[in-house]
Symmetry: C2
Subunit: 195 residues, 2 copies
């Protein structure tokens, strides 16, 4: 929450109000401290997650938190400092679905420029076919492709991953997908597919 005195918030380094301005040698508006001069850059965040399969069935989690409470999703969440994208995807599978995987591979990179997020999605085999709901998940389930609840998927990017995974089921090539997604949850898919 910012105040009338500091509509752009406060400096993390010195606690004084920040302003919005274009620094010398830059070409974009940045949040800059009016007292100590530090530039506070803001950058996109990565979401890492995975599609885990067991005997032809795909692991989905029913969300127990907002946004999109009660909708189905793949295990995924914000990447943490100090970890790799792959380790982050494994951590999310463990945290959200008590699930493990020994052969995780990169599936696709999905840009969500509207909300400044990049999804890095992996795929692999669900170890021992075992999964169990954790705190942030109401329920986990293994879905045959023909039973995927397409109308109850939480986010457009998850619909896209499931769609592309099912499309290529017969071939199982290792081509990685790169796509830009513009639609909000519940809207028709607005996407530019690069590969």
């Amino acid at each position: 929450m910012t105040s009338d005195i500091a509509p752009y918030g406060y400096c993390r380094d010195c606690g004084k109000p920040t302003i919005e301005t274009t620094p010398d040698g830059d070409n974009r508006l940045r949040i800059v401290c009016d007292s100590c001069g530090v530039i506070h850059y803001e950058n996109p965040k990565n979401v890492v997650g995975c599609l885990l399969e067991w005997r032809g069935n795909i692991l989905l989690c029913k969300r127990g938190i907002e946004p999109r409470y009660g909708y189905w999703t793949l295990p995924a969440g914000f990447m943490e400092n100090g970890e790799s994208t792959r380790d982050g995807a494994l951590r999310e599978a463990k945290e959200e679905a008590t699930a493990s995987c020994d052969d995780l591979k990169l599936f696709g990179v999905y840009n969500l420029p509207r909300i400044s997020q990049v999804y890095l999605m992996f795929y692999g085999r669900l170890k021992d076919g075992y999964a169990k709901a954790n705190e942030e998940t109401l329920e986990v389930n293994l879905f045959d492709e023909k039973d995927i609840p397409w109308d109850e998927i939480a986010f457009p990017v998850i619909t896209e991953v499931l769609t592309r995974y099912c499309e290529r089921h017969s071939e199982r090539s290792h081509q990685v997908h790169l796509a830009d997604i513009y639609s909000r949850p519940g809207e028709p898919l607005d996407i530019v597919r690069h590969t």
Copy 2:
């Protein structure tokens, strides 16, 4: 710069000192405001860049800024809010080397967990073979593979991209590389290659 009063800095939202603590329901130390309670998450940053080729030669830029002033690199830089990874790579090519590309494709994803960065590197054809140094670049040049200045490359991740690009020159498959890099600039390459 932080003070004795606020060793973990100040709250962006209210300007009061923050503390380091593990919030309820979390399992990691976070920077949390002791006054308004906001949690200030910190996440890895993406670097986006590209390898552009013109008639068998690769475009490299000699860095005009620290770190690694005077060393050679591929055009690359921090991804900005509101853009896609691909658009960011194109922007960096334009900013650092006045270079364009019409057929940019994802080449590889490189994790640098030690410094909490993810490199998303693309490749394509340098449009019209044209490039020119800009403010942050001392010099641009097109290198035949046999003339790449391997001992003067700025960062391990750039060495890795160039190495893998040259290795696969004969095949030109579209397999994407995923690797975790641990070495600092100037150190022997310490890497785990996943694909």
